[in-house]
Symmetry: C2
């Protein structure tokens, strides 16, 4: 590929002039401008982005840290930032961590490298103390609330959402309610779920708490486990609609009527939920992603709460 020197030579001007027409500077005579443009066209020339980035010290690329790249929740946030990125002419690069701390830090280092102009964290495994230092090199926003002033947040009030669901269940007369969750106790949202549970029903019996639920199949097994209990739960709050769907399927197979014998509540308003008529709480994660993107490119550290909404269908 030709470079700016050759173009300059061919057009009979200096590289500075070529650079000027490339960047639409004024103070270039129409005559030279068109001469340069002509050479650019005929040589099918495009400036080398690494060189431009090197000198400009920005890349117009932002990264999004995602633990798993096939999880309904993270996918929604990804879609949100992708949606927003198109409008603003930014590129987004996906950074999957599988909750590996070192990998997560490696990605954060891309801010130092000047590969990325900013990073959005949808979920983290490092603690804030390890993350904060990177804010010196570029904006980082998180899809979870934190009061660290260096971090912008586009988040949902999960505690409030969980609390509302549990209260609702209580009002409906449920006292023995089970929950499912994804990864271990270290997860912030699990912590919040438990707090909300406690404040509504008191201590959560361990047998009513199933971990490692991600897909329909996991939900099916969770249902099996829960509904085989001597003292069955009368309601289950699943950590996603797919899991909720699996639970529903198991109940169905056992001839357990939903919602009469078992109430089920899902999350994130996924297709399987509409298919099965599952009630759900939609945390509007797409909006969370869109908002996170706006914060990043405007280098804002605001704390923005995205409202959730409960979707009433027939499983509760």
């Amino acid at each position: 590929m030709a470079n700016i020197n050759e173009i300059a030579k061919m057009a009979g001007v200096s590289v500075a002039t070529v650079s000027r027409v490339l960047n639409n500077h004024k103070y270039v005579s129409e005559e030279k401008r068109s001469a340069v443009q002509k050479v650019i066209d005929q040589m099918d020339y495009t400036p080398n982005k690494s060189a431009v980035d090197l000198i400009r010290r920005e890349t117009r690329m932002i990264g999004i840290i995602i633990p798993y790249n096939n999880n309904q929740a993270f996918d929604q946030m990804l879609h949100g930032v992708l949606n927003a990125s198109i409008e603003r002419d930014y590129s987004v690069i996906v950074l999957p961590t599988k909750y590996n701390k070192a990998k997560e830090l490696t990605y954060l280092a891309m801010l130092k490298n000047k590969v990325l102009d900013g990073i959005i964290i949808t979920s983290r495994s490092n603690d804030w103390e390890s993350i904060i230092p990177y804010t010196n090199y570029g904006p980082v926003v998180c899809c979870e609330y934190t009061d660290h002033p260096e971090i912008g947040c586009s988040y949902i009030d999960r505690y409030a959402s969980y609390l509302e669901v549990f209260q609702y269940l209580k009002v409906k007369g449920h006292t023995r309610v089970a929950i499912t969750r994804g990864r271990g106790m270290e997860s912030i949202s699990t912590r919040q779920t438990l707090d909300a549970y406690n404040n509504t029903f008191g201590e959560l019996p361990t047998e009513l708490h199933i971990s490692d639920c991600y897909c329909v199949e996991d939900g099916y097994h969770a249902g099996q486990q829960l509904l085989s209990l001597a003292s069955r739960p009368t309601a289950i709050y699943a950590n996603g609609d797919e899991v909720a769907g699996g639970i529903y399927l198991y109940a169905q197979s056992m001839n357990i009527k939903v919602p009469q014998d078992l109430a089920i509540m899902g999350q994130e308003n996924q297709p399987i939920g509409v298919g099965l008529g599952l009630s759900s709480v939609d945390h509007q994660l797409i909006k969370v992603g869109e908002q996170a993107f706006e914060l990043i490119i405007n280098k804002l550290q605001h704390k923005i709460e995205i409202p959730y909404r409960i979707i009433h269908r027939s499983s509760i």
Copy 2:
């Protein structure tokens, strides 16, 4: 951020030596190596990637062109390439086109720019003549078959898959079968669907062909439309499980029994399909994505066919 010069100065060596320890060259005395490493650590230094890329002429970043960033099929391919990228220490950047030709070309130009080491096209709107020239600047692989030798392909034999489904339907005694599709006639997969249809059932009556179906809701409307026909179809082959799910829901609401009164077949083996017991053909798009990634980074122009599989559940 410090640069290589400062590190060299502080460590009392030349930049060349610093570069050598950075890149794990041999022929650096253990003494100098550790001196340099110490300074690197204490300064928390990271090389500037733009500068490295500029001189190395590679970025270890590959792009994936995707028309829509919330479509089950494209999402699966994206997940496939993401899966593969983690192992190989590459970054992937998502390039959403909304089938805008100019945008697509802009992305391809990122190969010329040296922003991307390669590009994977999951679906294109430009014709091959416009795309081929870019293969001069880096590998481009497509998730669709083409015999252009410049293009690597990781694809599924859609025609064969459609044909098998239609034949199966025919054997089951169906003669009036409808189909749904996404975007306009220009889509290659629509074309192949029609060919397969023709070779099985002959001309497809226009009233049995519904366009612009993407989600559950679209499917519901399609079902409504199709099942209101004076002469109803006895089977519907949907372009995705979500659409199939919508059709199922409508049939259910009308008390039309599946599969007795209406057979439904979906595609891509999505959660809603397992929830509703919908038969589906799984094109294994995740594998398509993984394979595409391998082709790209190995700069191969092979044509690799990924097998599909029909999943029998209870809707047919």
